[in-house]
């Protein structure tokens, strides 16, 4: 699983990577996940089932499916 964040001037940046099934990796992923949410970022988990691609917003690491390939962090929306 990769935790990536969209950033101006960078594109996406990999914040952390690991196997959530491994305790040490999971701890690192959870720590980074919380840090990004504390910074005010939104977190989305993209999924694909056949031709249908979807995304789910998550607010806690426990909501992230164990087999998710990536969690994408991006700044929260504001009315333009």
């Amino acid at each position: 699983m990769k935790l990536v964040r969209m950033k101006p001037g960078h594109g996406d940046v990999v914040l952390a990577e690991g196997d959530p099934g491994v305790a040490e990796d999971e701890e690192r992923l959870i720590e980074e996940f919380r840090r990004q949410l504390d910074l005010g970022m939104w977190a989305a988990v993209p999924t694909a089932e056949g031709m249908r691609h979807e995304a789910t917003m998550v607010r806690d690491f426990s909501e992230v499916p164990k087999d998710a390939e990536r969690v994408v962090f991006f700044p929260p929306a504001a009315g333009g």
Binding site: P8, G11, D12, P75, A77, G80
Partner: protein, 186 residues
């Protein structure tokens, strides 16, 4: 005589430290600070922005469907159906421009939803995400929670920021583009 000379040297040294010490220490501190401070990145660097867009496109490609990615590459926007599938309306997602809602049967423009994703974490690099990231942020927000995003956006009648003639031309381009893809696949 030797004792007097030695004492004089010590006294002179002490006076020098007292007199010039603070100035020298300040100069040393300033030099260290100058060395430690990294030069600020330029506010706009076309090369940096191009590289960022290339990375953002890779992420977009990994998340949206192949058709949506091809649409973005070839037309410059993504057309997305409303949440309920055959709901009769859809959205045009342009980078850094409002989301345009339209009737999928008549192509009538319905409304504009002004929404942005400003990132204030690194002011030196600006607040704008790369174009592909901005489109992907809209795509994920709509897919994950259409009502939440739309309720947060400022809604306007069509034409406030996106030229309605341009949007209508884009819908024609989209129809033709889809037609070509169907022909190529056949």
């Amino acid at each position: 005589m030797t004792l007097v000379a030695a004492t004089s040297v010590v006294v002179i040294a002490v006076l020098a430290v007292v007199g010039f010490g603070p100035t020298l220490a300040e100069r040393l501190r300033r030099r260290r600070t100058r060395r430690a401070a990294e030069p600020a990145p330029p506010p706009y660097d076309p090369g940096r922005e191009r590289r960022a867009e290339a990375r953002a496109r890779k992420l977009l490609r990994a998340v949206v469907t192949a058709e949506e990615y091809a649409m973005y590459e070839e037309l410059g926007f993504i057309a997305l159906d409303g949440a309920e599938g055959d709901s009769g309306y859809g959205y045009l997602l342009y980078p850094h421009r409002p989301i345009v809602a339209y009737d999928t049967k008549t192509s009538e423009l319905l409304s504009e939803y002004c929404v942005a994703f400003p990132d204030r974490s690194e002011p030196a690099l600006g607040q704008r995400l790369p174009d592909a990231d901005d489109v992907l942020a809209k795509w994920m927000s709509l897919r994950a929670g259409e009502r939440e995003l739309i309720s947060m956006a400022n809604m306007h009648v069509p034409g406030r920021q996106v030229d309605p003639d341009q949007a209508r031309r884009d819908l024609i381009r989209l129809r033709e583009w889809r037609g070509r893809r169907v022909q190529q696949a056949a």
